[in-house]
């Protein structure tokens, strides 16, 4: 029997009587009180998530930057120290191995934050690509650290985060919160302003409790999913995987084909030249039925694709989703149907960014 992995905050989640589930091998809260209430807290105030399931890997050494330039779809060395960017890790054939954040922390020192799924496979891939070069040091610090995402329009008013409110979007710094050493970045996965905080596992509980004392609402995976879906953000393993290329996933903005050689570049150039046959779309169901992942998408009685993510959009009060359809059906305004338990539900292709902050 494979036991679920526990984050440094596992006990506090149980103490708060959170509903726990298995997420990519981790025991994590799906909700504390209510997904809707947690979702709304992040859209209107501040909420926090235990995102310690995310992998935190340091890449350092004299050749760290050139190595990352070889494996990532965007230039790493050109990234200013103190800044970060979202990019992809692609296979030789252009398939997506993961989407990840790369933080340029110092000279020859980078932090990668990637998804919980397939961590061993990805670490193995990185190590193989590095060819055991002594000038490239790859170190997975995930087991010894905690990662919190504190998100929402009022985060900069929190006592804990006032000191980092000067950070630009995607900026990061090493600092202290309540005397505890932390790495803080102005990043997130909710479509709101917010910060992600990494610290030693021993600091997990005091950090969590101090945010709770400042009125930040604990939030679970349910709200994490509904917030990112509303903001049109893709989830690896659902909306993209090794069988998907960045162009069909609508992630060409994460690929810089103008930079030097990198793994997957020639395949991606060829895909771009040929054009894609299918495309990830956003859709809105006209009724109130919920479209869920793996439901079939129909056009004129023909199955044309599958839903990859779907759900209720709490801020918008409608049922939304993402899915792949043939390119000729990917135009905004196209009428489609989602087969919801053997009943076709009318839907329409809409902009994937269902919710936009301040819009």
């Amino acid at each position: 029997m494979k036991l679920l992995k526990k984050t440094p905050l596992n006990k506090v989640h149980h103490d708060l009587k959170a509903r726990m589930i298995d997420f990519a091998g981790w025991e994590l809260p799906v909700w504390f009180t209510s997904i809707l209430a947690e979702h709304r807290a992040v859209r209107s105030g501040a909420g926090m998530f235990d995102v310690s399931d995310m992998g935190r890997v340091w890449v350092s050494g004299r050749k760290a930057g050139s190595f990352l330039d070889k494996v990532l779809t965007k230039p790493a060395q050109q990234l200013e120290v103190g800044s970060a960017q979202l990019c992809l890790l692609c296979l030789e054939d252009g398939g997506i191995l993961d989407d990840l954040w790369v933080y340029h922390v110092g000279t020859d020192r980078y932090l990668i934050v990637w998804n919980a799924a397939n961590i061993e496979q990805k670490l193995d891939w990185l190590c193989r690509c590095s060819g055991s070069d002594p000038d490239i040091i790859i170190e997975d610090t995930s087991p010894d650290t905690v990662m919190l995402a504190v998100q929402g329009p009022s985060v900069c008013q929190l006592k804990n985060l006032k000191g980092v409110s000067h950070l630009p979007r995607f900026g990061h710094t090493q600092t202290k919160i309540g005397g505890l050493s932390v790495f803080v970045a102005r990043t997130g996965y909710t479509g709101e302003d917010g910060f992600e905080i990494i610290s030693h596992a021993a600091n997990a509980l005091p950090l969590w409790e101090s945010f709770m004392e400042q009125g930040v609402k604990p939030c679970g995976l349910g709200a994490r999913d509904s917030l990112r879906l509303e903001a049109g953000m893709l989830l690896y393993g659902q909306d993209m995987d090794t069988g998907t290329n960045p162009f069909e996933a609508g992630l060409e903005w994460l690929v810089d084909l103008g930079k030097g050689e990198f793994i997957g570049k020639s395949a991606l150039l060829a895909i771009k030249r040929q054009g894609v046959k299918r495309k990830l779309i956003g859709f809105q169901v006209k009724g109130r039925e919920i479209a869920r992942s793996a439901y079939k998408i129909f056009k004129s009685d023909q199955e044309v694709g599958r839903v990859t993510s779907g759900g209720y959009a709490p801020t918008l009060g409608v049922s939304i989703g993402l899915g792949y359809v043939p390119i000729e059906l990917a135009t905004i305004g196209t009428d489609i149907e989602i087969m919801i338990r053997n009943k076709p539900a009318a839907a329409q292709v809409v902009n994937k960014r269902f919710y936009q902050r301040g819009a």
């Binding site: 509903r19 799906v30 909700w31 209510s34 997904i35 809707l36 349910g222 509904s226 109130r288 039925e289 919920i290 869920r292 759900g311 209720y312 709490p314 049922s319 338990r341």
Partner: protein, 133 residues
Amino acid sequence: MNSKDCKYTQEHEWIRPEPGNKGSIGLTDYAQSQLGDIVYLDLPAPGTQVEQFKKMGEVESVKAVSDIFSPVSGQVLEINQTVIDEPGLVNEDPYGAGWLVRLELSKPSELDALMDSDKYDKFVAELSEEESE
């Protein structure tokens, strides 16, 4: 806790019998707590014949979809339009404002196959124990 004047199914529906072989039906507090925030209900239209323990509708929470089974056989008299418009009422008040449909029972003796509130309390307590193990 669970309402004393109702009878319960193992699938976590309740029926509150009324004089004249009628009754209203809803989901239990345990059901709503397991489902989480309810956002959509698909209920049978008035006039529909339903059968005991057979599917009569669907409930969608943010996280999952579940079937709703009828506690007894009969004909649907009315559905709660307020709960269709505001499905969250099932979470807030499962035995009151969150009722789903009213039925005319065709076989009132079927009520004998259901649990009373004491039995259902125990049934749920055992489920919760299994869960926490």
